[in-house]
Amino acid sequence: MLSGETGIYILMAVVSLISTLAVYMAVVEKDLVKAVIYSALQSGLYTILYFLLLAPDIGLVYIPVAVGLIPGVLLILISKTERWEKE
């Protein structure tokens, strides 16, 4: 039986791995709208990490800024320019 602390560490490891995958998808994705969504997914996972690392203050500022405001600004910029990344 796992102790609570080990469970939290395992959860942190899993969340970190998924967030790395999200970063990878955001980098290689050619459709910039999807890349923004992957980036927001990574930020959401980072929020879980911040919460587990006992920094709820940073988590509270991370959710609206990194999941709401920055994707909003990026989507506005994409709608002004081009959606597809060129080679």
């Binding site: 990878y24 203050d57 500022v61 800024v65 709401g68 405001l69 909003g72 506005i76 910029l77 002004k80």
Partner: protein
């Protein structure tokens, strides 16, 4: 090509994991509380033994951010507004705030849901900001939660809808300036009071200090407000929410004008 990228990524992750496993004892910070943190935690709410150093706030992070290290936060705030002013200066020729016919926006279902959730967003943001001295949170956090609302309205309705409801950039700039003015006034409030009374006080002082006996009110009507912390959080909330809203409105308006010129 893609396989190579994936393999490199996996090797990188495994190498980092190995590094952390091997150097665990040297990389990981110790769980013991370090001496400065010990003092901050001991002094953050301690009206009995440390009356002359305490902030009277149970939230140690907000106490550090707005009292122990208050000047740092003041300059961080000013950096944020300098960036905002730079953005406004870049787009000042592109703005045209005519009340145009609002666009169609999204469907009726989305609009209704937005109308229902809009007050909830404001209430959550306000509670994060105004309870910043009691629970995790603070002015910047609450303000950025509230700033999500104008963005959602711009996406769901349109930017003309927001402007027709009176949220023009000039009004937002006035609100932001009032927030900044409030922050500045709170910082020098005790200094001004002691200047009138002829006593001694510091700029950015909150509670009594060994050589300055004036203090901000700790309770208002029985509710703990921790002196300057509550006021700082309140004004920061207004300033941050208005600041982010300006950024969105300016970005969207610049786009409309560019489309018109084509």
């Amino acid at each position: 090509m893609k396989t190579v990228e994936v393999v490199v990524l996996i090797i990188l992750i495994l190498a980092l994991a190995l590094l952390i496993t091997v150097g665990f004892e040297h990389i990981m910070p110790s769980t013991a509380v370090r001496p400065p943190a010990e003092f901050y935690l001991y002094a953050t709410y301690n009206p009995y033994k440390l009356r002359e150093y305490t902030v009277m706030s149970p939230e140690a992070v907000t106490a550090i951010v707005w009292d122990f290290r208050g000047l740092d936060t003041l300059f961080e705030t000013s950096v944020f507004y300098l960036a905002l002013i730079a953005g406004l200066a870049l787009t000042r020729r592109l703005l045209s705030e005519r009340a145009e016919k609002p666009g169609h926006g999204l469907s009726l279902i989305v609009k209704t849901v937005t109308r229902i959730t809009a007050p909830m967003i404001i209430v959550v943001g306000a509670s994060i900001a105004l309870h910043g001295h009691l629970t995790p949170g603070g002015g910047f956090q609450g303000g950025s939660v509230i700033a999500v609302l104008p963005m959602v309205i711009i996406v769901v309705f349109s930017v003309s809808f927001l402007i027709m409801r009176g949220f023009t950039t000039s009004k937002m700039i006035i609100m932001r300036s009032l927030g900044l003015f409030g922050i500045g006034l709170t910082a020098i409030a005790l200094f001004l009071v002691s200047l009138i009374q002829g006593t001694h006080a510091y700029v950015f002082q909150n509670m009594i200090k060994p050589d300055a006996q004036t203090s901000m009110p700790i309770y208002i009507a029985g509710a703990l407000i921790s002196g300057t912390l509550w006021f700082f959080n309140l004004f920061e909330m207004f300033a941050v929410a208005a600041g982010f809203s300006i950024a969105f409105i300016v970005l969207m308006l610049a786009r409309t004008l560019q489309v018109e010129e084509r």
